[in-house]
């Protein structure tokens, strides 16, 4: 048995049947990290020693009956923009290179309450700005399916670690596609929940009206289980929805009888890699066999989503990143002449180019005289996009598009062309602008063997429908049985 290839629900089964122990599981993952991390470099901080110790403690407590819990002793990896008490939270930035949060993010707290073991903090684009994890201050992360390619981003470390079996599952965050796109590039499942379903308390803010934490997992069942753990109303986040807690695994049915699947023509055709379109069209045929009805819909405002997204995201970022000023827990320049020089030098030294680019853009669109032309207008377009999606959900239950127009691109391929990097977000950003839930599930591979992702979008708080659709497809596609990352160079 290869322990690290198992999903979390498979691990649970083996624990229950006493075929495996908690410390065996942790040891298998520690060994796997020691073997693969040098090639993949998914982590900013590994906690292998701490995890080993913790696994022994938890095992003891379980044996003595002190604790129970269906997830006790299961390992996890956490994106490095969620605060973890006592462990560095860097956001992959020089700015927070030595920052140790004095508190746990709510999602992390919920993980800890289940006695889940944190194997480490995962690499990302600096402050979650980027789609390739090349914008990490520390190092790049490499795609386990082809080490010359990017894992996507910004949760590239999370997706690559899951794909490389270095963690059984991980938490990511998604502001414009940062969970779904890397999941797509790495052949794993990534879910961005409805805005407000998961508390953002302790998630270092990039764009507050767009950010959501979500699961990155090997399969859809694990996704539903991790979602069960991290959801729930939080008094520390006023945007956290006060709705009844659900068991999302109940939605995992093998058929989609009567489900109407909307296919927006604007998300296909020009700019989409032919194999990506082919595979998703083939998936739609499978859905018909599973009992779904395919409905053609139009989302003609989607083309404005990208510009709208970048204006809103950068505006919010420029304000949110103001606190990284060299005064308290951040990097501080060595030599400075007075307060303004301290600010200028500390921020110039410690922010990377992409972060600076977005702060400058954001400050510009918020400045007086330009506010109405850009930020206010973007908010108006946002309403139009929401209306259009509302209209669409009058005609269908879920919407299916590619997660990304292409499979993973080469490392360095888009680094000097920010605009083409931004364009890669075209399929995912509308979901953040509208606050809707979206999941990316593997949907075959392209001619080079690189994974393709299919995005299923649902209406607000209708995670069950997209999980159902994703699960039903996964059962016939059998991606994990047919395809495995090769770590080729």
């Amino acid at each position: 048995m290869n322990i690290t290839e198992l999903t979390v629900h498979e691990l649970q089964e083996k624990l229950k049947n006493k075929e495996l122990t908690i410390s065996e599981i942790t040891k298998a993952y520690v060994d796997r990290i020691n073997e693969k991390e040098k090639d993949v470099q998914a982590f900013v901080t590994t906690l292998t020693e701490e995890a080993t110790k913790q696994s022994e403690e938890i095992e003891e407590k379980i044996n003595s009956g002190e604790i129970k819990g269906e997830f006790a002793g299961i390992p996890i990896g956490i994106k490095d923009n969620m605060c973890t008490k006592g462990v560095k939270t860097t956001c992959s930035s020089k700015m927070l290179e030595n920052f140790i949060a004095p508190y746990d993010a709510t999602a992390v707290k919920k993980i800890n309450e289940e006695n889940i073991i944190n194997l480490g903090k995962l690499n990302m684009d600096e402050f979650a700005m980027g789609g390739s994890t090349e914008h990490s201050y520390f190092h790049k992360t490499y795609n386990p399916w082809n080490l010359n390619k990017v894992p996507g981003g910004s949760s590239g470390g999370s997706a690559a670690a899951v794909a490389a079996n270095m963690v059984p599952w991980a938490l990511g965050s998604d502001t414009g596609g940062s969970i779904r796109q890397p999941a797509s590039f790495c052949g794993v499942v990534g879910l961005k929940p409805t805005y407000g379903l998961v508390s953002r308390y302790g998630l270092v803010a990039f764009a507050s009206s767009l950010d959501q934490i979500g699961p990155i997992t090997k399969d859809v069942r694990d996704s539903a289980m991790l979602l069960n753990i991290i959801t729930g109303h939080d008094e520390m986040d006023t945007t956290s929805a006060n709705i009844e807690k659900k068991d999302y695994t109940k939605a995992l049915k093998k058929d989609v009888k009567g489900m109407k699947i909307g296919v927006p023509k604007e998300f296909y055709g020009e700019g989409v890699q032919p194999e990506v379109e082919e595979k998703i069209k083939a998936a739609l045929e499978e859905y018909k066999k599973l009992g779904a009805e395919i409905v053609e819909i139009s989302l003609d405002v989607a083309e404005y989503s990208l510009a709208t997204y970048y204006i809103i995201a950068c505006a919010e970022a420029s304000s949110n990143l103001g606190r990284f000023d060299g005064v308290r827990y951040t990097h501080r320049a060595k030599d400075y002449n007075g307060l303004w020089d301290l600010y200028k030098k500390s921020r110039s030294e410690a922010f990377g180019d992409e972060v600076k680019r977005r702060i400058i853009l954001g400050t510009y669109v918020l400045s007086s005289g330009y506010y109405d032309a850009y930020y206010k207008k973007a908010q108006q377009v946002r309403t139009l996009v929401m209306n259009k999606f509302n209209e669409a959900f009058g005609k269908c239950d879920v919407i299916i598009t590619p997660t990304s127009p292409t499979t993973a691109f080469d490392i360095g391929g888009k680094l000097n062309d920010p605009l083409s990097m931004y364009k890669a977000d075209i399929c995912t950003v509308s979901v953040n602008i509208t606050g809707l839930p979206g999941i990316s599930v593997p949907c075959g591979v392209d001619n080079d063997g690189m994974p393709i992702g299919m995005q299923i979008i649902g209406n607000r708080f209708e995670e069950e429908k997209i999980l159902n659709a994703a699960y039903a497809y996964e059962q016939v596609e059998k991606f994990r049985e047919n395809h495995k990352p090769t770590f080729k160079k």
Binding site: T89, Y103, Y201, Y343, L366
Partner: protein
């Protein structure tokens, strides 16, 4: 021209710290003093990832203040960020209210020593968070930041420029103080800074449009406000008499 041909136009922005039990966006105690940086948490120190949760009592107290000063209370109100860099503001923005304040269009009546009554209009009352304090003394050229006060709830009451003398300004401020004390929304201890005023003064020839104004910030005693206004009126009249108009200037006191 004689000095009687001029009149002063005065408006006040009055900041009152609310006497709620806890701070405006976190559950830290709302207390004055204490050892530096002892009454703080991830929210009021703006740790990465921390989020504000509005204290309902702050809204309640601000609405009380609005009702007691004849304001209309907005059913639809929101907070806005005012972005700026300064070490006493750990978030790098103040959470205030810009275009939708809680209370608008109020007034209070004042009485001057000659027995005349006058209505002073109130433009708005909005809620916001207070900043921390910087200590500049005795640290070898460095300044130290104390965030105990960061996140203390404030209401800012903005008057119309309806006052014409230092005495009227003083009476207006006394009136606000007694109202806020009476309805128990603020202890209004000026020496502790829980009531402080920014004073805007301009001078014009009677009947002329408004002149150039100066703003004196953070005044926290009646005596200093009266002296500052009288001094400023004289200074501006002198400038106009000299053929120069008053240059806008900002003074930070205290």
């Amino acid at each position: 021209m004689s000095r009687e041909d001029y009149e002063a136009v005065i408006g006040l922005e009055v900041h009152a710290e609310l006497s709620t039990k806890t701070k405006i966006f976190c559950s830290c105690a709302n207390e004055f003093g204490g050892e530096p940086n002892t009454n703080i948490c991830p929210v009021c120190t703006a740790m990465p990832g921390a989020l504000p949760v509005l204290n309902e009592k702050v809204v309640e107290y601000a609405v009380k203040a609005g009702l007691a000063t004849n304001c209309s209370i907005s059913k639809d109100s929101k907070n806005d960020r005012k972005n700026y860099f300064y070490p006493d503001t750990p978030k790098a923005y103040q959470i205030s209210q810009y275009d939708k304040p809680l209370c608008e269009n109020g007034h209070v009546e004042i009485e001057t020593s000659d027995g005349n009554k006058k209505v002073i209009r109130i433009e708005r009352i909005h809620i916001e968070d207070d900043a921390g304090k910087l200590n500049h003394d005795d640290f070898g050229g460095e300044s130290l930041v104390d965030l105990n006060r960061a996140g203390v709830p404030l209401i800012e009451t903005v008057s119309k420029p309806d006052m014409r003398s230092a005495e009227e300004a003083e009476q207006y401020l006394r009136k606000l103080k007694s109202i806020f004390e009476y309805i128990e929304v603020s202890d209004c201890k000026m020496q502790e800074g829980s009531l402080r005023a920014d004073v805007n003064v301009s001078v014009r020839k009677k009947g002329d449009p408004l002149g150039t104004r100066t703003e004196m910030k953070n005044m926290n005693s009646f005596r200093s406000i009266v002296r500052a206004i009288n001094y400023e009126i004289e200074r501006q009249i002198d400038l106009i008499e000299d053929g120069r108009t008053g240059r806008a200037r900002k003074l930070k006191v205290g």
